[in-house]
C-alpha cells in the first residue's frame, strides 16, 4: 500500500510524466494518445484513493521547497480540492477520448504540442486544487494561464492570435494587477498565506481594509469571469473544441471559482465574510453578471459563443453562492462546480461533434440536424436540462441549494435574479435541441430520410459518458455532498 503522501505526490507528478511520454512518442499517434488516456485514468484512480483519508479528516501534506522565509510550495489534500481534482482528472480522460475523435476528424495540426500542453494544464489544475497556501496556488494559477495560451491560439490564424491576446491580457492582467496585490496584502496583514479553517485574519482587522481585499480577490481571479472581466472567455472560443470543453467549461473557469471558494472559506472564513460591507456589493455584482450574461447569451448566434456566455452566467451563480456566506449557499456553489462541469462539457462536446460531422457552427444552421445526429442532440438536450437545473439531471441539486442559500441569507432579490436567469437559460438552450428535432425545414420533410452521420466513435463515446454522468448525479450526489460537508 502506498502512503497517502506519496499518492499526493503522484497526483501532482503524473501529468508531468504524461508530458514526457507524449513528447517522446510524438511520432506514434496511437501510442501518444494511449499515454494520455492511461495517465488520465491513473490520475483519476490516484485522486480517488485519496478520497477516504480526506473524508476521515487525515492530514495529508507535502512540502516541496521554501522560496522565501514562510513562503513555500506546499500541498495538502483537503475536501474542496479533492472535489475539484476528482472532476478535473475524470474529465481529462474523457476529453482525451473525445479529442482523439475530434482532432483527427477535423485534421488539426501540431497535435503533440496540443496533447502535451493539455497534460501541463491538468498538472497545473492539480497544483491549484491541492495548494496548501495562496502562494502555491498563485504559482499554479499562472502556470495554467501560460500553458493554456498556446492551446487557445492553436489554429495560428490572425483571429486566434487576437483571441489569445485578449485571453492572456485579461487573465495575466487581473492576476498580477489585483490577485498578487491581494496576496501580498494578506501576507502583510495576517502573516500567513496558509489556508486555515475559519480564516486567517484577526477579528480586529479593519473591515474597510478587508472590503478592499475581497474586491481585489474577486476581480483578481479573472478566471472566475465575474463581469466586467469576462471578455477572455468568449475570446478563448477560437480554440479547438476539446480545449473549450475541458479548459473553458471545466479546468480553467472552475479553477477560478474554486479559488474564490477557497478564499471565502479558508482565508476570510464565512463569519468574517458575512460581516464585510463589500460582500453585499459584490453579491449584487455577481447577480448582475448572472443576469446580463444570460441576456447576452440569448443574442449570440454562434453556438460556442452562446455556450461561453452561458458559462459566464453560471460562474456568476457559483461566485454568488460563495459570497452569500451561508453553508447552504456554499454547498450549492461547490456542488455547482461539479454539476455545471458535467453539463457544460457535454454541451461543448456536442458543439464540437456538430462541427466535425456536419461542419456547422451557427445556431440557425442547426434546424433539423437531430435527424442526422440523433445521439448528439439528445445528449445536448439532457445536458441543457442539467444547466437549467431540472430533473432528471444533477443540476437540480446545486440550483436547489443555491436557492436555499439565498433564502437563508434573506436575499429575496437575488433569489428572483436566480429564477429569472434560469428562465433565460431555458430560452437560450432548449430551442436548439428542440428545433433540431421538430422543425425540419419544409423541403426536407417530404424527401428521403437523412442518413445518420455522427461524429467519430471515440467522441460519441465521450459524449455518452458525460451525459450519463449528468443523469447519475441526480441520484448519487451524496459522495460530493458529504465531501462538502467535511469542508464546512
Amino acid at each position: 500500500m502506498i502512503g497517502n503522501e506519496s499518492l499526493l505526490q503522484l497526483a501532482l507528478l503524473l501529468p508531468l510524466v504524461a508530458v514526457a511520454g507524449i513528447r517522446l512518442l510524438g511520432r506514434h499517434e496511437n501510442l501518444r494518445e494511449a499515454v494520455s488516456l492511461l495517465a488520465g485514468t491513473a490520475l483519476f484512480a490516484t485522486v480517488c484513493s485519496l478520497y477516504d483519508p480526506v473524508f476521515r479528516g487525515e492530514l495529508v501534506e507535502i512540502r516541496w521547497l521554501e522560496l522565501m522565509p514562510g513562503l513555500s510550495l506546499a500541498f495538502r489534500a483537503e475536501p474542496l480540492g479533492l472535489l475539484f481534482s476528482l472532476i478535473a482528472s475524470f474529465l481529462w480522460s474523457v476529453t482525451t477520448l473525445y479529442a482523439i475523435g475530434y482532432m483527427r476528424g477535423h485534421g488539426e495540426g501540431n497535435q503533440t504540442r496540443f496533447y502535451s500542453l493539455f497534460a501541463v494544464s491538468i498538472g497545473a489544475v492539480m497544483g491549484i486544487a491541492f495548494a496548501e497556501n495562496l502562494f502555491t496556488l498563485f504559482v499554479f494559477y499562472e502556470v495554467l494561464t501560460l500553458s493554456t495560451y498556446p492551446l487557445v491560439t492553436h489554429a495560428g490564424t490572425d483571429k486566434a492570435r487576437a483571441g489569445g491576446r485578449v485571453y492572456l491580457g485579461i487573465l495575466l492582467g487581473t492576476s498580477i494587477g489585483f490577485f498578487l496585490l491581494a496576496i501580498v496584502a494578506t501576507w502583510l496583514l495576517a502573516g500567513t498565506l496558509s489556508f486555515t479553517p475559519g480564516g486567517v485574519f484577526d477579528a480586529d482587522t479593519p473591515r474597510s481594509l478587508l472590503s478592499v481585499l475581497l474586491a481585489l480577490y474577486v476581480f483578481g481571479v479573472g478566471k472566475a469571469a465575474v463581469m466586467p472581466f469576462h471578455r477572455w472567455l468568449p475570446a478563448a472560443m477560437v480554440a479547438p473544441t476539446p480545449v473549450s470543453a475541458l479548459l473553458h467549461a471545466v479546468a480553467v473557469v472552475k479553477a477560478g471559482v474554486f479559488v474564490l471558494l477557497k478564499v471565502c472559506l479558508l482565508i476570510f472564513g464565512l463569519d468574517t465574510l458575512g460581516s464585510i460591507p463589500a460582500t453585499e456589493w459584490l453579491l449584487y455584482l455577481a447577480g448582475i453578471s448572472v443576469l446580463l450574461a444570460s441576456v447576452v447569451a440569448l443574442r449570440q448566434q454562434n453556438l460556442k459563443a452562446r455556450l461561453a456566455y452561458s458559462t459566464v452566467s453560471q460562474l456568476g451563480y457559483i461566485t454568488m453562492g460563495a459570497l452569500l456566506a451561508t453553508s447552504a449557499g456554499f454547498s450549492g456553489s461547490a456542488l455547482h462546480i461539479v454539476m455545471h462541469a458535467f453539463g457544460k462539457i457535454t454541451l461543448f462536446f456536442c458543439a464540437g461533434a456538430i462541427l466535425v460531422a456536419a461542419h456547422k457552427t451557427e445556431i440557425h444552421q442547426l434546424r433539423g440536424i437531430g435527424r442526422q445526429m440523433p445521439v448528439t442532440m439528445v445528449a445536448f438536450f439532457i445536458a441543457s436540462l442539467s444547466i437549467i437545473g431540472i430533473p432528471p439531471t444533477g443540476g437540480t441539486w446545486s440550483k436547489w441549494y443555491l436557492m436555499l442559500g439565498t433564502l437563508e441569507a434573506g436575499q429575496w432579490l437575488l433569489m428572483a435574479l436566480l429564477m429569472g436567469s434560469s428562465l433565460l437559460s431555458i430560452a437560450y438552450l432548449l430551442p436548439i435541441p428542440l428545433r433540431a428535432f421538430f422543425s425540419g425545414n419544409g423541403q426536407d420533410s417530404g424527401g428521403p430520410p437523412v442518413a445518420i452521420r455522427e461524429a467519430p466513435w471515440p467522441s460519441l463515446l465521450a459524449i455518452g459518458v458525460t451525459t450519463l454522468g449528468c443523469m447519475l448525479l441526480l441520484f448519487y450526489p451524496n459522495a460530493f455532498y458529504q465531501l462538502i460537508k467535511v469542508a464546512l
Partner: protein, 492 residues
C-alpha cells in the same frame, strides 16, 4: 595574499588590459581576458565569503592610513555588487569570442578585449574603493572605455550613440566631480567614512546641499533615471551585442550602487530623504520611469532597443525601492540589482545569438524563430517571464519584496503602479513571443539553425540562474538582508 584581495580585485584587470595589446592573437587574447575575469570572479567570491565571515575589510593602499591614503573598504554591500559585476562580466566574456568574431574586424577585436578589461576594472574600482575621488577616477576609466566599446558597433549610428553618451556621461561625471569638490571644501576629507562622520556636524549649509544636488544628478545621469535616460536606448541598441549584454548587466547596477552609497552611507538616510523632498522625487521619477519606458518599449521595432527601454524601466523599480526609505525597500532594490543583472544578461546574450544567426534584431527577424532557434528563444522566454516577474523566476522574488515593501510602508498607490509596470512588461515580452512562436517565418523551410554552443552555454547559464534564484533564494536573501540592515543600522 588574502589580505590584498580588495586591491587585487581592481588591479588584476587593470594591469591585464594593456597586456592584451602584446598578445595580438584574437583567440589567445580572449582566453587571456577570460582567465583574468575568472580570477576577478574568484577574488570577489572570496571577498564576499570573508565579509560574511568576519565583517568589513579595510585595505590601505600603499600602507598609508585612511584619511591621507586611499582606503579600499569592502562591506557586505559592495562585496555583493562586486560579485554581481564580476560574475556577469565573466559569463558575458565567455560568449564574447564567437559573437565578436562575427561582428568586428580582426584588428578591432584586440581593442575590444583591452577596452572590456579596462571597463571591467573601472566598474570594480568604483565599487571597491572607499574614497570619493577614487570613485570619480574609476568612473572616468569605465566611462571612457564604454564610449569606445559602443562606438565599435557595426551600425554607423553606433558612433552617434557613443557621442551622445559621451556628452551626457561627461556632464554626469563633471557634476559628480563638482559635488565631490564641494564636499572636500567643507569637510576637508575624501574618505567616505570620514565624510559620513563629519557631514552631520556641518548640518545643511548651502554648500552641502549644492554638493548633494550635483552628486545626485551626476549619478542619476549615469544610471539613466528617467528623464535622464536619453543616452541609453541608442547606446544599447547600436553597440556590439556582447557589449550591450555587458553594460546592461553591470554598468547601471554600479550606478545604482553609487546612489545607495552616497545617499544612505555618506549623507545618511535622514539627510537624504528629509532635507530635500528626495523621497517623493525618487518614488515619483522611478514610477514615471517604469511606466513611460515600458510603454515606449511596447512600440519598439528593434528588440535590442525594446529591452533597452525595459532596462530604463527596471532602473525605475530599483529607484523606487531606495525612495521608499525603509530597510525592506532597500533590500528589494538590492535583490532586483542582482536579479535584473541575471535577466538582462540572459536576454541580451540570447539576442547576441539571434544577431549572430539572423543578422538583425528587428521584430520581423523573430518571425518563426521559435522553430528555427528553439534553445535561444527558450532562453529569451525564460528571461522574459523573469522580467515580467512570474513566480518561480528570480524576477518574482524582487517584485514580491518591492511590492511588500511598498504596501508595508502603506504606499498602496505605488504598489498598484509597480504592478501596472509588470503588466506592461507582459505586453512587450509577449509581442516577441508571439512573433517567434505564432508567426510563420518569412522563409518557411529553413531548418533548425541554432546559435553556436559557445553562445548558447553562457546564455543558458544565465537563464537557468534566473530559474535557480527564483527557487533557492537563500544566498541573495541573506546577503541583501544583511546589507540593508547594516546600512539602515543608524536610521532604524
Amino acid at each position: 595574499m588574502l589580505a590584498h584581495l580588495p586591491v587585487l580585485q581592481v588591479i588584476l584587470p587593470l594591469v591585464a588590459a594593456p597586456s592584451c595589446l602584446i598578445i595580438r592573437k584574437s583567440g589567445l587574447v580572449w582566453l587571456f581576458t577570460f582567465l583574468v575575469s575568472l580570477a576577478a570572479l574568484t577574488v570577489s567570491a572570496l571577498l564576499l565569503q570573508q565579509v560574511i565571515d568576519s565583517g568589513v575589510i579595510s585595505y590601505h593602499l600603499g600602507g598609508w592610513d585612511a584619511p591621507w591614503g586611499i582606503e579600499y573598504r569592502i562591506d557586505i554591500l559592495n562585496a555583493w555588487v562586486l560579485l554581481i559585476v564580476s560574475a556577469l562580466g565573466t559569463v558575458v566574456l565567455a560568449a564574447a569570442h564567437t559573437s565578436i568574431r562575427r561582428e568586428l574586424e580582426e584588428g578591432q577585436q584586440i581593442l575590444f578585449y583591452t577596452l572590456y578589461l579596462l571597463c571591467f576594472s573601472g566598474l570594480l574600482g568604483i565599487v571597491a574603493t572607499g574614497d570619493v575621488f577614487n570613485v570619480f577616477v574609476f568612473l572616468e576609466i569605465s566611462s571612457l572605455s564604454t564610449y569606445a566599446l559602443i562606438a565599435l558597433g557595426r551600425d554607423r549610428r553606433a558612433l552617434w550613440a557613443a557621442f551622445q553618451y559621451l556628452v551626457m556621461g561627461t556632464v554626469g561625471a563633471t557634476f559628480l566631480l563638482i559635488g565631490i569638490g564641494f564636499l572636500y571644501m567643507v569637510t576637508g576629507t575624501l574618505n567616505m567614512q570620514d565624510l559620513a562622520a563629519r557631514l552631520p556636524a556641518i548640518g545643511t549649509s548651502t554648500t552641502v546641499l549644492a554638493a548633494f544636488a550635483f552628486i545626485l544628478v551626476g549619478i542619476c545621469l549615469k544610471l539613466a533615471l528617467f528623464p535622464l535616460h536619453l543616452w541609453l536606448p541608442n547606446a544599447y541598441a547600436y553597440a556590439p551585442s556582447v557589449v550591450t549584454a555587458f553594460i546592461a548587466a553591470t554598468a547601471t547596477k554600479v550606478a545604482v550602487y553609487l546612489l545607495i552609497r552616497f545617499t544612505v552611507s555618506i549623507f545618511g538616510v535622514d539627510f537624504s530623504l528629509s532635507v530635500l523632498p528626495l523621497q517623493h522625487l525618487l518614488i515619483g521619477l522611478g514610477l514615471l520611469g517604469v511606466l513611460t519606458a515600458s510603454v515606449v518599449a511596447v512600440y519598439q521595432m528593434n528588440i535590442k532597443r525594446m529591452f533597452a527601454y525595459s532596462s530604463v524601466a527596471q532602473v525605475g523599480y530599483m529607484i523606487v525601492g531606495i525612495g521608499l526609505g525603509t530597510a525592506a525597500g532597500l533590500q528589494a532594490t538590492l535583490l532586483h540589482l542582482f536579479n535584473h543583472a541575471l535577466m538582462k544578461g540572459a536576454l541580451f546574450l540570447a539576442l547576441a545569438g539571434v544577431v549572430y544567426r539572423v543578422g538583425s534584431a528587428n521584430i520581423s527577424a523573430f518571425r518563426g524563430l521559435g522553430r528555427r532557434m528553439p534553445w535561444t528563444m527558450g532562453a529569451i522566454v525564460i528571461g522574459g517571464i523573469s522580467l515580467i516577474g512570474m513566480p518561480l523566476t528570480a524576477g518574482f522574488i524582487s517584485k514580491w519584496y518591492l511590492i511588500s515593501a511598498a504596501v508595508d510602508s502603506s504606499h498602496w498607490l505605488v504598489a498598484l503602479l509597480l504592478v501596472a509596470g509588470s503588466l506592461l512588461a507582459v505586453a512587450y515580452v509577449w509581442r516577441l513571443v508571439e512573433a517567434a512562436y505564432f508567426h510563420s517565418p518569412e522563409t518557411p523551410d529553413k531548418p533548425a539553425d541554432e546559435a553556436p554552443l559557445s553562445l548558447l552555454i553562457p546564455t543558458w547559464l544565465l537563464a537557468l540562474a534566473n530559474l535557480y534564484f527564483g527557487v533557492d533564494t537563500r544566498l541573495p536573501l541573506a546577503v541583501t538582508e544583511m546589507a540593508s540592515r547594516t546600512l539602515f543600522g543608524g536610521a532604524l
